[in-house]
């Protein structure tokens, strides 16, 4: 290894370390300002809460055994919404790829469905499937699946043209073309659709819990707001942040493993 290359690698490492340190530093700074601002009377900690209050609230909730049921409820609903929404979304995209006429016919419906704020359907859902976890999961499926259909289908349609001609000249059926070319080539698109879909599922679940539930982090947030316990609201949001991050990174790690297999 030449000296110049060593120097290059050192610079690269130093740059990465600087970014990592800055991230942690920024986080610490926000916590510090938040905490200090309340203490020196810059704002009212009753309105904005504070890191110490949030931590205390989370701890006491956990000690009373009240945190876990909420966390589990919300996590389950999100996971269910995400998985079912993805399945439904990818399945629909596959069906539409196989039936181009159906795809053309349904296109405007999809566009409108995508543009529609699914939250508006909340009251309808409650009437249809009842005011329980089902309504929340259906809401998550609604919010996440439409985006999945649109982006996965766009990915499928992008991989036509010459590769499809190749398969035609080899005498492949449409199913063979799909399994051997379109699907593997769309793996990166599907994976990025999954990452978006995770976020969408959280939106659906939290909104769903705002509307109907008696349990879950969304419920805690609404309840905390109604009884003016901002500590409870902030604590729930903090836990929600952590959960969303965990789920996102799990999907991202899954994506990395899959993508490596497909060399994309």
């Amino acid at each position: 290894m030449s000296g110049e290359h060593r120097e290059y690698l050192r610079k690269l490492r130093r740059g990465r370390r600087a970014v990592a340190l800055s991230r942690i530093g920024l986080f610490a700074l926000i916590l510090l300002l938040w905490e200090a601002g309340g203490r020196i009377g810059l704002f009212d900690p009753f309105i904005l809460s504070s890191p110490a209050r949030v931590a205390r609230t989370i701890l006491s909730l956990a000690q009373k055994g009240e945190l876990l049921p909420h966390v589990l409820t919300t996590s389950f609903e999100t996971a269910a919404g995400f998985l079912l929404g993805t399945l439904l979304g990818v399945g629909t995209a596959v069906l539409l790829w196989f039936c181009p006429t159906l795809e053309k016919v349904l296109d405007p419906y999809l566009v409108v469905l995508n543009a529609l704020p699914k939250i508006a359907l909340g009251p309808v859902l409650i009437v249809w499937v009842g005011a329980g976890a089902e309504a929340i999961i259906v809401m998550a499926i609604l919010v996440s699946s439409v985006v999945t259909v649109m982006s996965v289908l766009a990915g499928f349609l992008e991989i036509t043209g010459e590769k499809q001609k190749l398969m035609l000249t080899l005498g492949a059926t449409r199913t063979q073309t799909f399994i051997k070319v379109v699907l593997p080539a769309s793996v990166p698109t599907i994976m990025s659709a999954l990452k978006i879909s995770v976020g969408m599922s959280w939106v659906g679940v939290i909104v769903g819990e705002y509307l109907v539930s008696k349990r879950g982090l969304g419920y805690l947030i609404v309840y905390g707001g109604q009884v003016f316990r901002l500590d409870l609201v902030m604590a729930s949001i903090t836990v929600l942040c952590a959960l969303a991050a965990i789920m996102y990174f799990a999907v991202a790690a899954f994506e990395k493993r899959i993508s490596r297999r497909f060399g994309a």
Binding site: T169, L170, K180, P184, A185, F262, G263
Partner: protein
């Protein structure tokens, strides 16, 4: 169909329809491919040369006239016809070996014997060290060779080559012209090459069919009459005169 003729276009016309216009791509085209020959087709770009290959492979149907391939319709003959596209179109996520096996796999012909034959062919054409490499790790010339093996793996009786060298750099191109002609001649394949490059047509073909501008029609067919590998043909004293005659025929 004459016994020696393996593919034939008889009074073929082809019209492409678009909402705003229709385009006559081919009109009154007669062309016969003889068994075992290497037929080059040259013509101005956009003249409908590629359409002729699409017709022969049954990807499109003629508006008028008749196309016969291997004693039957192009659709029925398609499993026995190999088609090489302009670009290699190797699948990025498959190794070179699995890419070469794609045609066999699709046709349900993959077994121990055909797999071994394909691997042997890859080895023979200098890809032996790259069987488990991915396409992105190979040069353009090697990729195109892998694509040729993919086409030859199922022993097609007729090969259609659609400007298979046009995406390569000059040096690779000359080398590959040489090799591919060797491969095709040794294997006793019948091949139809479409190109806009006169030198390539002369170096690879046994006959050169000159097409007119759109709508495509056969203007004249030149027997090449120069023997030997592609690269040596360029040095033949017959090369320049033939090149000139084709050039003149094209520019009329």
């Amino acid at each position: 169909m004459h016994e020696d003729i393996i593919a034939e276009l008889d009074g073929v016309s082809l019209i492409y329809h678009e909402p705003r216009r229709e385009t006559k791509a081919v009109e009154g085209l007669d062309l016969a491919v003889r068994r075992g020959e290497f037929l080059s087709i040259v013509g101005p770009s956009g003249c409908g040369k590629t359409s002729v290959l699409s017709l022969l492979s049954g990807l499109i149907k003629p508006s008028k006239g008749n196309v016969a391939v291997l004693g039957t319709t192009p659709e029925k003959a398609r499993p026995r016809v190999g088609y090489m596209l302009q670009r290699d179109e190797l699948l990025d996520w498959r190794t070179i070996e699995r890419n070469a096996l794609l045609g066999l796999e699709v046709k349900g012909l993959l077994n121990e014997r055909t797999r071994r034959e394909t691997v042997d062919m890859l080895k023979k054409y200098g890809l032996g060290d790259f069987l488990s490499h991915f396409p992105s790790e190979l040069s353009g010339g090697m990729r195109q060779k892998a694509a040729i093996v993919r086409t030859l793996a199922f022993s097609p009786e007729l090969l259609l080559l659609d400007e298979p060298f046009s995406a390569l750099d000059c040096q690779t191109r000359l080398k590959l012209e040489d090799e591919v002609r060797g491969i095709i001649k040794q294997g006793g394949y019948t091949a139809v090459l479409v190109t806009h490059d006169i030198a390539e047509a002369v170096c690879m073909g046994d006959r050169v069919a000159v097409f007119s501008g759109r709508p495509a029609r056969v203007r004249r067919i030149f027997p090449v009459g120069i023997e030997g590998p592609a690269r040596e043909r360029r040095r033949s004293p017959l090369f320049a005169p033939l090149f000139d005659s084709i050039w003149k025929e094209l520019s009329v």
